[in-house]
């Protein structure tokens, strides 16, 4: 092989090697979104969006590799419950959100998350009763929170009674099981990706309760993908 031929071969192999490394790094850095993105932007512009989610004590079989993990599910506009925590919403729009809470509760690690903030009126409805703060050290405690730190939005999701004999064991849960219904409204900001998470360390069995479902996207945290 000529000198130029050898040089071209070496350069070609180098380019291929670099390409493979770049592709591997890109694949590592962009793992995709667990459960995909559920789109809520198909409605009329400026009209409120209805968003219904549920929290379940264990996701159960059929939803991935961790059937015992606690998780959120979301109801698509077509009415199907799916295991996704990334929701696409229109910007500058009122979102009427309903959370069906099927999990039990306990005292919060930080009672600050017992205060309702960031909603329209800084209040939520708990089974029809307006509530602005919930003392997690009394009653049934708080099972989870729905918190969007960048928006100052925080909703304590009061747990069902610990002695419930009609608790849902796996998702998706029907409303015939014991649950609390929490409703509230908030307004989306401008376009952007806004992380949300639960502030109850509910990763049972993991150090400080913040491992497992608390540290894996698609379970107790996700994104509000707000678009124009």
């Amino acid at each position: 092989m000529s000198r130029n031929g050898r040089l071209a071969t070496v350069l070609g192999l180098f380019v291929v090697a670099v390409g493979l490394v770049v592709a591997a790094v890109a694949a590592f850095l962009t793992p995709g979104i667990p459960g995909g993105v559920v789109n809520f932007t198909s409605g009329s512009a400026g009209q409120p969006v209805s968003l219904v989610v549920q929290t379940v004590p264990s996701i159960g079989v059929g939803f991935g590799d961790h059937p015992t993990w606690v998780s959120y599910l979301v109801k698509t506009p077509s009415g199907k419950w799916v295991h996704s925590t990334t929701w696409q919403l229109p910007a500058n729009t009122v979102v009427n959100m309903t959370i069906l809470q099927y999990d039990s509760g306990s005292p919060l690690r930080n009672q600050q998350w017992g205060q309702v903030t960031g909603t329209l009126g800084n209040t939520m409805s708990l089974n029809g009763t307006a509530t602005s703060a919930y003392n997690s050290n009394t009653g049934d405690g708080v099972g989870h929170t729905f918190t969007v730190p960048a928006l100052g939005l925080d909703i304590p999701l009061v747990g069902i009674g610990g002695g419930s004999t009609n608790a849902c064991s796996q998702a998706p849960c029907g409303t015939n099981f014991d649950h609390n219904t929490i409703t509230f409204s908030f307004k989306t900001p401008g376009p952007g990706n806004y992380p949300w998470q639960c502030f109850v360390p509910c990763g049972l069995g993991y150090l400080f309760g913040n491992g497992g479902p608390m540290s894996t996207q698609g379970y107790m945290g996700g994104f509000l993908k707000v678009v124009a």
């Binding site: 961790h66 919060l108 400080f208 479902p213």
Partner: protein, 327 residues
């Protein structure tokens, strides 16, 4: 020509020195007056001002060193190039291996610089009450009035008026900072608002893992450790917005663990604090009494926040208890 000796030979060292001095003076002046005022972290607090000055002093000292190296390299490459006409072949021997005078000067000069910087740094840390860094639970260097303010905060008798030290507790948790104001009934907020021209005593702790409270424009950075109170001081000098970030890798949402704070006038601060105190009153009543640290009950998932008298520090045994780890 000044750079030639009495025999008419070029004195390379003198010529390089002249070039170095001129370039260094020009570079230092340009840096100090044009770049210096814009060097991070800015001038929002007394700590930031002093840390900016420290960075500038370091740069003003470092620039001549850098320029000295460049001048020597440039001079050597230009004047002693083998391709240059009249340049003698390099020779070996003692003269090529060592130059006692240069060695002595080099050691003396670098020693003076290093010793000066050590002294300057130590002075800056002491004079600025820790220079914005966390000093641990028992600060060695505290501003006047800080101890009294912190004692009052802990005893529940704290109040604040302009001109006095304001105690603010920073609580890290996965994955957000919240702030308690013991001088205003102990309310907690996810917003950090500070009055201008005020000495702030940040008391930083964590409810779970190690975080780090980094208010960049305030030039304050203190680790947030569970069950430990880490105190850092600064004095606000200008109004404006600043950013708080966690600077300790703390889990999945570490990258999202930031918020924006602001320094406002004393009047605006009092209005905000009073309003928030009233708005949060219902929830503040549910918070534990103000304390330097909070020990969550070690009962695994959803562990409570309150020391109940029987609390033991975290351990894997106490954390898991009889509960079975999930798959």
């Amino acid at each position: 020509m000044a750079a030639e000796n009495s025999k008419g030979e070029v004195n390379d060292l003198r010529r390089m020195t002249m070039i170095w001095v001129v370039l260094s003076v020009v570079a230092d002046l340009l840096f100090w007056f044009l770049v210096g005022p814009h060097v991070p972290p800015g001038r929002m607090t007394e700590t930031a001002v002093n840390n900016q000055r420290t960075f500038n002093v370091l740069l003003v000292i470092a620039l001549p060193v850098l320029i000295g190296v460049w001048v020597y390299l440039g001079y050597a490459a230009t004047m002693w190039s083998a391709k240059r006409e009249g340049v003698a072949e390099s020779v070996g021997g003692e003269g090529a291996r060592t130059n006692r005078k240069v060695q002595v000067w080099w050691i003396a000069l670098t020693s003076v610089i290093v010793i000066f910087l050590a002294g300057y740094g130590t002075f800056a840390v002491i004079a600025e009450h820790g220079s914005g860094g966390g000093e641990g639970p028992n600060p060695v260097w505290s501003p006047s009035g800080a101890t009294q303010a912190e004692t009052a905060a802990l005893s529940g008798s704290s109040s604040w008026t302009p001109g006095h030290v304001l105690v603010v507790q920073v609580i890290g948790q996965q994955w957000k900072f919240t702030y308690r104001y013991p001088s205003f009934g102990g309310f907690e907020s996810d917003k950090l608002v500070l009055p201008v021209n005020t000495e702030i005593a940040f008391n930083v702790t964590s409810l779970d893992v190690i975080h780090s409270f980094w208010a960049y424009q305030l030039s304050v950075k203190a680790d947030a450790n569970p069950q430990l109170n880490n105190v850092a001081y600064t004095e606000t000098k200008h109004t404006g917005n600043f950013t708080v970030r966690c600077s300790e890798l703390c889990g999945l949402w570490h990258g999202s663990m930031y918020n924006f704070g602001k320094v406002v006038s004393s009047t605006d601060f009092m209005n905000w604090a009073s309003t928030t105190q009233s708005a949060n009153a219902a929830n503040t009543a549910n918070l534990p009494p103000f304390a330097w640290t909070y020990v969550p009950d070690a009962n695994g998932a959803s562990g409570g926040w309150y020391p109940d008298g029987t609390v033991t520090p975290y351990s894997t045994v106490e954390t898991y208890g009889s509960k079975t780890p999930a798959s």
